[in-house]
Structures are given as C-alpha cells and as structure tokens.
Symmetry: C2
Subunit: 158 residues, 2 copies
Amino acid sequence: MLESRTTLDPTDIALLAFLQRNGTATSQELGAELNLSASQAGRRRQRLEENGVIQGYRARLDPAKLGLHVQAFVQVQLASHGTEQGAAFSRLLRTRAEVTSAWTMTGEADYLLRVFCEDLPALNRLIHEVLLAHPVVARVHSQIVMDQPKADAPLPIG
Amino acid sequence: MLESRTTLDPTDIALLAFLQRNGTATSQELGAELNLSASQAGRRRQRLEENGVIQGYRARLDPAKLGLHVQAFVQVQLASHGTEQGAAFSRLLRTRAEVTSAWTMTGEADYLLRVFCEDLPALNRLIHEVLLAHPVVARVHSQIVMDQPKADAPLPIG
DNA sequence: GGTGAAATCTACCTAGG
DNA sequence: CCTAGGTAGATTTCACC
C-alpha cells in the first residue's frame, strides 16, 4: 500500500526466481531461460536493481567449512519493554558477529537471534557472558539446530 | 574434524567477508580491497568456489516490494518422534513455497519454520489448513516478526 | 605476478505495436 | 510513445607464460 508502486509482470517474477538461485547468471543465460533477448534480460535486471526489488548479491558460504559447527536460535526476553532498553540491546547485537540475524516478535519484547559458533562452549560463553550478563536481559532460551531440512529457499513469488 | 581440510589464511577470510557483502565484486575490486593483483584475487576466489567454501551466489530481494508483508516464525511439534513422521513432514515443507527455511532442534521433534506470506489471512490459512491439517502435526506456535534489527550479517569468520 | 584472447556488460540505435 | 531486438566499445575473466 505504500511503496509497492513497482509492477512486476510474470517475466519479472521468473527473472527474480532465477536470480535467487543463481545470482551470477549472465544476461544471455537469463534471456535463454525467459525466451528474451540478452539485452532485454539485462535491461529488466537493471531496472529491478534500481527499483530496489533486488537489494544486492551475496556469496553464500558453507558454515561447516569455516569451522562454524554449532548453529542455534536464541530467544531473549528483556527485563523491561521500553524503547531505551530495546535500543541498548540492539547496540549489543550489532557488536556480536556470532549473531547473524535478529528479529523482534509480536506479543512481548521478545528477540529471536540466529547465531553461528565454533563449538558448544563458544555458544555457552555467548549466552552467559554476553547475553545474560547484559543488564536489560531478563531471560534466555536457546535451541541448537540439529538439521536443516530446507535452507533459504527463494521467496515465494508468483 | 571431518571435512575442514581446507586451510584459510587471513587473505581468504577477508575475501570471503567482502564477497558476503558484495557478491558481484570483480577480481579487480577484490584485489584493490585486499592489496592483491586482480589475477591473484580471481584465482583465490575460484579456488574457494571449487572447494565448496563458497556455495554460490544469490540475489537478495526486498520482501515488501514483492507483496510479502508478513513474516513469521512457526514452531511445530510432531505427534510422534519417528523417522517416518519426520520424513512425511519434510515432504510437506518442500511443497510449500511460503516456508523458506526449516530447522530441526534439539530437545523434541520440534521444527522451526521461517515463513513469508502476503498478509495475515494467508499466514492463518497456512497454519490451519496446511500445518494443523496434517496428521503428523500435534501443535503449532507462531510468532509474527515485527522488526528485524539485524539481517543476514556475514558469517562470523576471523 | 602479468598478458592476451574470448566472453560479457552497457549504452546507443532501429523496428514494431 | 513505450517496449523488444541488435550492434559496438569498454570491461572482465581465464588459460597460459
């Protein structure tokens, strides 16, 4: 209702779906996939980049090959629900590289953190010496990831 | 202990960190960032791609601009903890595009799902008509994402 | 670490609805 | 007038030295 002025036709949708799987596809490959000339495919991609529909391109790394063997989700409840506490906690999150993503949820001043650590002791240090040690944190509940049946599927467009 | 035979020197680490922020960086840009010749930077990148440390490149899209205005995490408990039930549920997950990621957790046969939907009714349909309607599903708890203070930061390498 | 051929991108131009 | 296809110059990659 606010900024979705950009209209996406079915070709755009197919292009975005393809680029979510292969971000380095050339304009020729895109064109072949979409039954379009390379120049048109490139032009559409450029427009979607300028629109901000495509925010950017990123390399995806294998955590295990980087020595990050423990993956977990950590739920954090703050002691108080003021904006001041939230801001202080957000600052903490930005300084911790192990926390790769953080979300706030409906219901309470609840944070969900996704964290990557070398091993279990590293995760426990993060929880006890960083999160629980922080004055605004009231309670922490962590769950370790065992398996990932589905990983970063493309966004459900179309 | 198993497949981390690949040794990464500090230059590799810096290269990976850079490619996580900008996956379309050219070898020249990489070289300039790392004080390396373009040919050396390209050679390192190619080696890391062949090693599987770099799994691939993906376009990152703006969910709001695609009409996906509701983001949520859904926790699912299965009725029984057998491998048969898990396999059946995993099949279901693969067929639902709204579920972009799924993890199994320690503790119980608990799944955590990350979902993107157009609106609240679409999320409720997913929960009630798809998840709760499935015979192996015992209980579902969903939390809607309000804000994302930290989004897909680079993996904590180095 | 450097070089050159092959491939790719991008801006400009032309044609059609 | 807007959208699709084609072409040339600049840029990038990759095998070889």
